[in-house]
């Protein structure tokens, strides 16, 4: 019975997944049913997760393929909890229809599976479960021409990603014969090959610099809520997976790994902030800012002289704050972006509705990392730990790169009050 109990949150979601098609089958017409069902399922899952966390349930099931531990439950809690507020966005496209909630649940389920995966196989299936629901969600963006283009782009990138991910797993399996996440050691060339491919495929999903071009196009095409999901839930899961794979193999991160991760993340902060300046579309603006933010958090993977739990807490805090800032930015916009997606829409936004524009400016300021807002404190913590394992130069470069970002955030925020958002 304890398997069922250990997997209770996932099982609740599966139950909901099964029940949702019944709405179509039984042709139930009530509008509110899908939303209430979705909320029931998620709240139930959250409650169970909280209970697990309370009991500090620690168990590995299925011969190590599936782990459950307080940390992981807390992370799942964060992911589901950060998903709920986005539903407030009342956009007219496919709102209230059971398929939309079904796909959200599937996405959630996929991320839970990935989080608590013990072996590469569960990881692979979780990744599939995470990406497949996203295809139709992206397809149903505001402008049909753009969203179909971004959907096809997302699919092609995603299938190459699964190919590389599988190749990585194949190489590791070929070298070690075991599918366990924890047995990686870098003495053998095959391991290095496999880990390189694994790391890169996950970086593609995180849109770290050399692999980032797909994300602005996809963000531009898709709907506001999907933009939030793509940038917060999906990326949080991926970062936690990266943390699971690469953080606990302490000896693993010797010279070349740290250098690669540092260069890529610094490059992504730089590119993210640089390309913010010339942006005219709001969604692309958020895409590049999420690239820059991923750059920050990947830096934490390099910190070795600190216990793994602290890194998990930092990542947890980072994504909590990042989701709050994104919510502060997206909720005030509401259905403003339904039709056009130009930054110029924001001019004189303050005159139109002062409360919403102040929330938007709080969000932007915390994204930019201006002190009293949360975005700043988490950056300090990351940079502090970086300097603690004496990557001082890296921290300084990261600061300078984030400095470049201040101008675009201030420009957009100021634009609401001053009028013309020009360079």
């Amino acid at each position: 019975m304890n398997i069922f109990y250990a997997l209770l949150p996932e099982n609740i979601l599966v139950l909901a997944l099964l029940l949702f098609p019944m709405i179509e089958v039984l042709k139930l017409k009530s509008k509110a049913l899908p939303l209430t069902a979705f909320l029931l399922a998620t709240v139930g899952a959250l409650a169970v997760l909280a209970i697990h966390y309370q009991q500090a349930l620690e168990v590995t099931l299925f011969y190590g393929h599936y782990q459950v531990s307080p940390n992981l439950q807390a992370i799942k809690f964060l992911l589901t909890f950060s998903l709920l507020p986005i539903l407030l966005l009342r956009e007219q496209i496919f709102i209230g229809h059971y398929k939309y909630y079904f796909l959200l649940l599937a996405l959630l389920y996929g991320s839970m599976v990935m989080i608590s995966s013990g072996s590469f196989i569960t990881l692979f299936v979780g990744l599939a479960l995470l990406s497949i629901p996203l295809f139709p969600l992206i397809l149903n963006g505001p402008i049909q021409k753009e969203s179909s283009e971004s959907a096809i782009k997302y699919i092609i990138i995603d299938s190459t990603l699964t190919a590389l991910f599988l190749l990585g797993i194949a190489f590791i399996y070929f070298a070690s014969g075991k599918m366990d996440l924890t047995i990686i050691s870098s003495d053998n060339v095959l391991y290095r090959f496999g880990c390189l491919l694994l790391l890169l495929s996950l970086f593609i999903k995180l849109a770290i610099v050399p692999f980032h071009p797909w994300s602005p196009d996809v963000y531009e095409g898709c709907d506001n809520r999907i933009l939030y999901i793509l940038s917060v839930t999906v990326k949080a899961t991926i970062v936690f997976v990266l943390w699971k794979i690469f953080a606990n193999t302490a000896n693993f991160l010797n010279y070349p790994w740290q250098a690669i991760i540092i260069t890529l993340s610094i490059a992504s902060i730089l590119v993210g902030n640089l390309s913010l300046i010339k942006q005219t579309s709001i969604k692309r603006f958020f895409a590049y800012s999420s690239i820059a933010h991923m750059g920050y958090i990947t830096l934490i993977l390099v910190v070795t002289n600190v216990s793994i739990e602290t890194i998990a807490i930092i990542i947890f805090a980072y994504f909590a704050i990042y989701s709050i800032s994104m919510l502060l930015c997206l909720l005030p916009l509401g259905n403003l972006l339904a039709s056009a997606d130009q930054l110029s829409l924001l001019e004189q936004f303050h005159q139109r509705s002062s409360t919403r524009s102040s929330f938007l400016s709080f969000g932007l300021l915390s994204l930019a990392g201006i002190p009293p807002f949360p975005g700043f404190w988490i950056k300090i913590v990351i940079m502090g730990y970086l300097i603690k394992c004496d990557y001082t130069l890296v921290a300084v470069i990261a600061f300078l790169a984030s400095y470049i970002g201040i101008y675009p955030y201030f420009k957009v925020m100021g634009g609401q009050f001053f009028g013309a958002i020009k360079h």
Binding site: I152, K153, I156, I157, T160, L164, V189, R192, L196, L197, L200, I204, P210, F211, H212, P213, W214, P216, D217, P256, I260, V271, L274, S275, L276, I277, K278, I404, H423
Partner: protein, 607 residues
């Protein structure tokens, strides 16, 4: 001791009353208040000196106290400052009475009297100061008051600019003064006069420090008393009302420099390197002042340049260490120069503002009293025997002659020449103004009120009286300043003889010239030795050009702004390059992934 502060603050009260409510009171009451307060402090001063000698230091409050230096706001009254305050208050009150009539009808009458009272307050502060800082506060305050008074009729632009010029040149001097104060404060850990004098004479004071501080204080004195390099502001200061020139640019303010050096004469006795410099500059200024005065056409400019040359005399005396003769000359000069200025004022007032001496003439009969006063003043200035000017000038010449230094002989010769020149130009002016001549204007003269001629006459009498009844001897032991020169015997006969003959010869030539109407004006003198040109065209315009072109444009825009804009362009350029990475082609993205993969592999395996 509190009466001393009372004396000091009466003019300030006058300034405040006139300044704040002056525009509401009508003219008569303003004049009353303006004159009352200086007279009040004058009576209080005389009453106190007569009743009980209340000499000594009185401290109001400590201005600042660091651990090695405490400066307090203190006043000190001794023979020297008593004498100076008598000059200041005496001549001041007379001029106040004079200007009640002179400024009659001017619509900012109250403002004029408030400025005058402010000037008296600062001058008293300067004179009664116990330490260099209080003196410096008076020093700057006097400069400020002169700026306000010179630029009093601010409607015309050049009045304001000449006021500004005076204040700027004074500030240059004041910077030197400040440096002197700092050096003294550093070396002697105090800036009170008597402590400095006592410490200077002790052995451990380092000669370089004394010389340096003496030099810088002298620069300050030059600025204030219009010596050679910094004398340009005095002639331009004539744009102010004439009583102002009389009070400030003849009697009181310009003498501040000499008073300061006499106050610190033990220090200067030690500063052996600086004294010759003072003497040389003094003589040169005297010579230059006299030369330029000869060619001036405006009566006030003539008197201004004569003040410059007389001050040169006093500095020459100080240079050779004859402190007492300098003070004596200062004392006498104050009176007769005030008379000359006031009578000149009366003349200008009478001729409805006409200031060019070549256009005046034949005033002897029309203004007899004025003529007498002007005559007496010019006699003193020329150094005719048994006038006070003669006594003080002779004293200075005798001291410079018997000063045991190689250059002192040449100095005496130069000073004698200047004495001759002084006699020449003052007599020329006298003859031109008062002797009947055809180009005099026939317009009816403006009536001279009694209140204007009374001070003129009083000052004339004073300037004669001061020289006669052995007042100089009484003053010598009263001030008991340090004496370092013993007069050579032959000087007693040689010097008076020489100066008398030269001045008589000069007066004769002057008479000849006025009769023949010969008007020769050498170019260099015309241009006042190109000093004005030097300051205006050369220094100021180059500074402005330098700042405008070099600093403002090249440095500010070209270098700093360009650097910032280039950084901005770099950022924008790189941001364009970066956004080009996403060119929409899905195959380009996959290619990018593979390229990154290959690069990382190369880095991984081969680096």
């Amino acid at each position: 001791m509190s009466e001393l502060f009372l004396i000091l603050f009466f003019p300030l009260v006058g300034f405040l009353i006139n300044g704040l409510w002056g525009s509401r009171l009508q003219e008569k009451s303003c004049a009353l208040i303006g004159c009352a307060f200086p007279l009040l402090s004058l009576f209080l001063l005389t009453y106190k000196t007569a009743v009980s000698d209340f000499y000594g230091v009185s401290i109001l409050f400590t201005w600042v106290s660091f651990e090695n230096l405490t400066i307090d706001f203190a006043l000190k009254l001794d023979h020297l400052s008593l004498l100076m305050s008598f000059i200041v208050l005496g001549i001041g009150s007379l001029i106040h009475i004079y200007s009640t009539k002179y400024m009659h009808g001017d619509q900012s009458f109250a403002r004029y009297f408030s400025y005058l009272n402010l000037f008296l307050f600062f001058m008293l502060l300067l004179v009664l100061a116990n330490n260099l800082l209080v003196m410096f506060i008076g020093w700057e305050g006097v400069g400020l008051a002169s700026y306000l008074l010179i630029g009093f009729w601010y409607k015309e632009n050049e009045n304001a600019s000449s006021g500004a010029k005076a204040f700027i040149v004074n500030r240059i001097g004041d910077i030197g003064f400040l440096l002197g104060i700092f050096i003294l404060a550093f070396h002697f850990q105090t800036i009170n006069f008597d402590e400095i004098n006592r410490a200077a004479s002790t052995a451990n004071a380092s000669a370089t420090m004394i010389n340096l501080s003496a030099l810088f204080l002298f620069i300050g004195a030059c600025g204030k008393s219009a010596q050679l390099p910094l004398h340009v502001w005095l002639p331009d200061a004539m744009t102010g009302p004439t009583p102002v020139s009389a009070l400030i640019h003849a009697a009181t303010m310009v003498t501040a420099g000499i008073y300061m050096i006499v106050r610190l004469h033990p220090l200067y006795m030690q500063a052996t390197a600086v004294l010759p410099l003072i003497a040389v500059i003094g003589t040169l200024t005297a010579l230059l002042g006299a030369l330029v005065a000869t060619v001036q056409s405006d009566i006030k400019r003539v008197l201004a340049y004569s003040t410059v040359s007389q001050l040169g005399y006093m500095f020459a005396a100080l240079g050779v260490g004859a402190f007492y003769p300098a003070m004596l000359h200062l004392f006498t000069h104050a009176f007769f120069k005030a008379t000359l200025f006031l009578s000149a004022g009366a003349i200008i007032h009478a001729l409805h503002g006409e200031q060019d001496i070549y256009k005046m003439g034949g005033l002897a009969k029309k203004m007899p009293w004025n003529m007498v006063a002007f005559l007496l003043g010019s006699l003193c200035l020329a150094g005719v025997p048994l006038t006070s000017g003669f006594i003080s000038k002779e004293a200075i010449l005798m001291h410079t002659y018997s000063h045991s230094h190689s250059y002192s002989q040449t100095l005496t010769i130069l000073l004698l020449i200047t004495a001759a020149l002084t006699a020449f130009y003052i007599s020329k002016t006298f003859f031109l103004v008062f002797l009947p001549s055809k180009n005099g204007s026939e317009k009816p003269l403006h009536a001279i009120a009694f209140a204007m001629s009374l001070p003129v006459i009083a000052l004339a009498i004073l300037s004669i009286v001061v020289g006669l009844f052995h007042i100089p001897a009484f003053m010598e032991n009263y001030l008991n300043l340090a004496k370092s020169i013993t007069i050579k015997e032959e000087a007693h006969i040689l010097i008076p003889a020489l100066s008398l003959s030269l001045s008589a010869f000069a007066i004769a030539i002057a008479y000849l010239i006025t009769v023949k109407q010969i008007k020769i004006v050498p170019k260099i003198l015309e241009q006042k030795f190109y000093f004005d040109h030097l300051y205006e065209k050369v220094l100021l315009s180059t500074l402005r050009a330098f700042c405008k072109r070099v600093l403002a444009t090249i440095f500010e825009v070209k270098i700093i702004e360009a650097a910032i804009w280039s950084m901005r362009d770099l950022v924008l350029f790189s941001s364009r390059r970066v956004t080009l990475l996403t060119n929409g082609q899905i195959q380009w993205y996959v290619l990018l992934i593979l390229m990154a993969l290959s690069l990382l592999m190369v880095w991984w395996f081969y680096v």
